[in-house]
């Protein structure tokens, strides 16, 4: 194995060696959300006809886990390597900025999708779930994981300290995922917050992903696909530019 494949393999091996923390822990967290919210709200909230609240919640939790863990993988790997100094092994290598991008984002997608699959496997027993339009499930899972992997790359390059990284995660990633309609349909929000939600690209990822399960969504899956693909393109272009210019890497 050589070139970007080596870096990809190293990045996958890195999280896999501590999979109890990087895969099992987020699966448990998602299950707790499901048990608590599902139990409390099952009889009080109806989003789509014939879809119980717990069923509605499962795809949202799966997608939230995919997004958060894809982000966590590239961002934490980079910041750790920067702070401990072992990024030098990569910096002195002949790998191109494209190789870095493909490897870091690819490994982030593997982590995000592994956790997402884990969440699906443990939650699917709690409520009936269909796969009405499965291709949307696949498309939005892949694009969402890719976008958050690239966003994590940008955060990892930008942050110089762990608290800066925590700020990025707590003040940007967490609010955007929680306000993306994971726990509710945006149609249940007041008009202003409905409009605000439509500015959040994470909303389209969750909505498009859920469409694959229920065949129903808040907006057209094609609109979601356009927004998500455009977001991925913008974030990737920024990440590639930062890598090419050696932003905060090559002084």
């Amino acid at each position: 194995m050589t070139g970007w494949r080596t870096l990809f393999y190293k990045e996958v091996l890195r999280f896999w060696k501590v999979s109890f923390q990087t895969v099992a822990a987020p699966v448990l967290t998602a299950m707790l959300y499901l048990l608590i919210f599902g139990h409390v709200l099952e009889d009080h909230v109806t989003v789509y006809r014939d879809v119980g609240y717990t069923s509605f919640l499962i795809p949202g939790l799966v997608m939230m886990s995919v997004l958060q863990n894809a982000f966590a993988n590239s961002s934490s790997s980079l910041i750790q390597s920067k702070i401990t100094g072992n990024l030098v092994f990569l910096l002195v290598s002949p790998l191109s900025h494209r190789a870095w991008f493909v490897a870091y984002v690819g490994a982030s997608m593997v982590r995000g999708l592994s956790v997402g699959l884990g969440v699906l496997i443990v939650t699917v027993w709690f409520a009936p779930l269909r796969l009405a339009e499965p291709w949307w499930v696949l498309v939005f899972a892949l694009l969402g994981a890719g976008m958050l992997g690239a966003l994590g790359l940008i955060a990892g390059l930008w942050a110089e300290k762990f608290d800066q990284m925590a700020a990025f995660q707590n003040f940007l990633i967490m609010p955007m995922t929680f306000l993306a309609g994971v726990f509710y349909s945006v149609h249940s929000l007041p008009a202003f917050w409905q409009a605000a939600s439509h500015l959040n690209p994470f909303f389209y990822m969750v909505d498009g992903f859920r469409r694959g399960f229920f065949g129903a969504s808040d907006v057209s899956p094609w609109l979601s696909l356009t927004v998500v693909a455009a977001s991925l393109a913008v974030v990737s272009a920024i990440a590639l530019h930062l890598l090419r210019t050696g932003y905060k890497l090559r002084l």
Binding site: R5, F89, L91, R250, L251
Partner: protein, 309 residues
């Protein structure tokens, strides 16, 4: 002949909160293929900045650097393949074992099926029984050996060691120098920065000295020593030294050290001691430390640069 490393008018300014700091100011010199070259200078002279620009860890403000003719910016992939860097900091990736770290590093450089050479490196550096150990479990000296192995894993023709023996035990220093000397004899070019000047004297054919971002001396190690008071006279005495000798002597308790340029000057000193009736014991005549030469050059004028540049 194609230079192994060429620094061509390299300058570097770091912009900080208190204005700009000029780390390098127009550094130019070549290191020929097969040389064992020493880069010396006090802390803050710009040695590590120069190495960082060579390795692609930093960008020069102006000027060019090439490795075997490959520009380190425009043709970075070829330049980095030709280069093996042992970094100054003791860094490691805590997720992997020694063998995993070396296999990963091989992969970055596009080297397939490298286990035979990895085995050779592990044995040569005394790491044979640590191959399966996690990096976290190794002592500082062992981690340093792994750093050397990582730098050599792609068999680079040009090897750069940035103060590799700082804080390292005697055994490792010897293992390391035997290993690097063997590589040099096999044709590898070696660039070494070090604070241990006796190392540079013993190993390096040529030396460049940096001071405040400029080359202040560049010559063969033997020439640098020849042009200075490089002979050292050491003896013990309880008597007072004559004024003429005392003026050029360094006295530590009973031990007296006098530096001289040549044999005639040694003879003059001994004669003055005889005339003054000074009784001396344990007389030794040896080479002066490169450190003394270094200090003399650092406090004096640039030398040797014009002739070579």
């Amino acid at each position: 002949m194609l230079a192994a490393i060429r620094f061509d008018d390299v300058s570097k300014a770091f912009r900080g909160t208190r204005g700009s700091v000029q780390a390098l100011a127009g550094v130019s010199f070549d290191i020929e293929t097969g040389e064992f070259f020493g880069l010396l200078g006090p802390n803050g002279a710009g040695k590590t900045t120069l190495i960082s620009i060579l390795a692609g860890l930093a960008k020069a403000s102006s000027g060019r650097v090439s490795v075997l003719g490959h520009d380190v910016v425009a043709d970075y992939a070829a330049a980095r393949r030709a280069l093996g860097i042992v970094p100054q900091e003791l860094v490691f990736d805590p997720f992997f074992t020694v063998r995993e770290a070396l296999r990963i590093q091989s992969g970055y450089f596009g080297v397939r099926d490298n286990d035979a050479w990895i085995g050779e490196l592990l044995d040569g550096l005394g790491l044979g029984d640590k191959a399966g150990a996690n990096m976290r479990q190794l002592s500082g000296g062992m981690k340093r050996r792994v750093l050397v192995a990582q730098a050599l894993v792609h068999k680079p023709p040009v090897i750069v060691l940035d103060e590799p023996t700082a804080g390292v035990d005697v055994e490792l220093r010897q293992t390391l120098w035997q290993f690097v000397s063997r590589l040099n004899k096999q044709g590898h070019t070696v660039l070494l920065t070090t604070h241990y000047l006796e190392e540079a004297e013993a190993l390096c054919g040529r030396i460049a000295m940096l001071k405040q971002g400029r080359v202040v001396a560049l010559d063969r190690t033997s020439n640098l020593l020849a042009g200075t008071a490089s002979t050292m006279l050491r003896f013990k005495t309880d008597d007072a030294l004559p004024a003429a000798v005392a003026a050029q002597a360094r006295v530590t308790g009973r031990i007296v050290q006098v530096r001289a340029h040549d044999a005639a000057e040694v003879e003059t000193v001994l004669q003055r001691l005889r005339v003054a009736g000074v009784r001396i014991e344990d007389l030794e005549i040896g080479r002066a430390d490169l450190e003394d030469v270094f200090l003399e050059i650092m406090h004096g004028k640039p030398r040797g640069v014009g002739a070579v540049a």
